[in-house]
């Protein structure tokens, strides 16, 4: 019973903070994109346009709910709720400080991979239920994408698990706090593993250069073509939440999570997460979209063998390097 209350209270707080963060994160992205393209970004609503996202959400929630006549109504309505569930759900096992963690699962890493990997289901569900050709192609591309990035993601996440010898996310962060961050040492294993994780995270949350299922210049709006109002808001929100939580997971698994000098743990975790989150935008407004087959070649011909080598390298490190044993 205690556990249920703990999870509900922390879940409510963490989810609200995440949603507030992405509201301002979207404002920040638009400002950032504006500056990169020599324009101002939002300036009208509130000081510096800060309330732009609030205005957008209120506007979107007021929109009429249009469902195509030929759509599969139950699936069409279910998909956005599932998208919100799976994107927020990953945050349950992320330690934001030594004490702020909703659920300290002993198989947290597995939970992250499982719940995060489920995101492809609402995406394809939306694509199929819309009964729209653009949406269907988007959904098929989402599956093509998930069978590409899945293996490198799992292999990259195995590296911190091997180095720390635990599947618990807070255990991995504690190990890094007591020894060294995995990004810094062993550097020739940690840096490439982190790079693979980051690329797979971008692919999992459908961000450029891997926003293949959405591809607004090719597929209208991909899987969300037929969605309006609140349901579209949920998909849009889920995408940002997924990116933010993915950044937090990356910070916890490779950058030492809440570990850092001079400031409380929460500050460090937030700082690291936001830095990774900002880099997503930087990448987004700098790179071009890959094609499905290019992503497949990248993931299967390059990232998978490199990931396997990293896993064996990490295993050899804890076996044979005296310092690796600690």
């Amino acid at each position: 019973m205690n556990g249920l209350v703990h999870g509900a209270v922390y879940g409510g707080v963490i989810a609200s903070v995440l949603l507030t963060t992405i509201a301002f994160g979207i404002w920040f992205e638009r400002k950032f994109a504006g500056r990169m393209q020599s324009r101002l970004g939002p300036t009208i609503v509130g000081p510096f346009g800060l309330l732009q996202s609030v205005a957008d959400v209120v506007k979107l929630l007021q929109k009429e709910d249009i469902v195509p006549r030929d759509a599969d109504r139950p699936l069409f309505d279910l998909a956005p709720v599932l998208a919100a569930l799976f994107s927020l759900g990953v945050a349950a096992v992320v330690p934001f400080s030594p004490t702020i963690i909703a659920s300290d699962l002993d198989v947290g890493v597995l939970y992250i991979l499982a719940v995060g990997g489920l995101m492809v289901i609402p995406t394809f569900m939306a694509g199929w239920a819309s009964n729209n050709k653009f949406a269907l192609i988007g959904g098929m591309r989402a599956i093509a994408q998930s069978v590409s990035y899945g293996v490198p993601l799992v292999l990259a996440v195995l590296v911190p698990v091997i180095l720390s010898g635990t599947l618990s996310v807070s255990g991995i962060v504690t190990y890094q706090a007591n020894h060294h961050w995995f990004l810094t040492w062993p550097v020739f294993i940690g840096v490439p593993a982190f790079a693979i994780y980051y690329m797979a995270m971008l692919a999992e949350s459908n961000r450029i250069p891997f926003d293949i299922p959405e591809a607004e210049s090719e597929l209208v709006a991909g899987v969300t073509t037929e969605y309006t109002g609140a349901k579209f808001t949920l998909f849009y929100m889920a995408e940002y939440v997924h990116t933010l939580v993915g950044s937090a997971v990356g910070a916890a698994l490779f950058l030492g999570g809440w570990d850092g000098p001079f400031a409380p743990g929460l500050h460090w975790m937030v700082l690291k997460t936001l830095v990774l989150f900002t880099v997503v935008y930087w990448v987004r407004w700098s790179l071009l979209r890959l094609r499905s087959d290019q992503l497949m070649v990248l993931c299967w011909k390059w990232l998978t063998p490199i990931g396997v080598l990293l896993v064996l390298g990490a295993a050899a490190w804890v076996q044979f390097v005296p310092g690796g044993f600690q």
């Binding site: 195509p68 195995l158 076996q319």
Partner: protein, 119 residues
């Protein structure tokens, strides 16, 4: 057990947020006074939709999907190994290296057969 219950209630809260946003929108959203039958049409760039989209669709990546299953099972085997590697020592390391090398031989074969290509 405690942690699993927390995870469960976290997932419930996440679902409630999704449902809550839909409910909030239901309360404040507008409704058109006059409905045009065209509005409920499937979007196809303004044309009348040609057939439905529920058709047979060639998934050109089905071979890759099979490989995905193989490699994911590999990962399932490696996770328990990864957590106890320290205690088990060199024997476990050698076993996993053999296992992964055999799998990578299969990967090399697939690569040479061009099975990892978009067909």
């Amino acid at each position: 057990m405690h942690a699993w219950l927390s995870a469960l209630s976290f997932l419930l809260v996440s679902t409630l947020i999704g449902v809550g946003i839909l409910a909030a929108s239901r309360a404040i959203r507008v409704r058109a006074k006059v409905d045009s039958p065209l509005k409920q049409n499937t979007y196809e760039c303004g044309e009348e939709p040609a057939q439905v989209a529920w058709m047979q669709f060639h998934a050109r990546y089905y071979v890759v999907a099979l490989f995905f299953v193989l490699f994911d099972i590999e990962a399932v085997f490696l996770f328990p190994w990864a957590t106890v590697l320290r205690e088990l020592g060199a024997g476990a390391f050698a076993a996993a290296v053999t296992f992964v090398l055999v799998l990578m031989l299969g990967w090399l074969y697939a690569l040479r057969k061009e099975a990892l290509q978009w067909q």
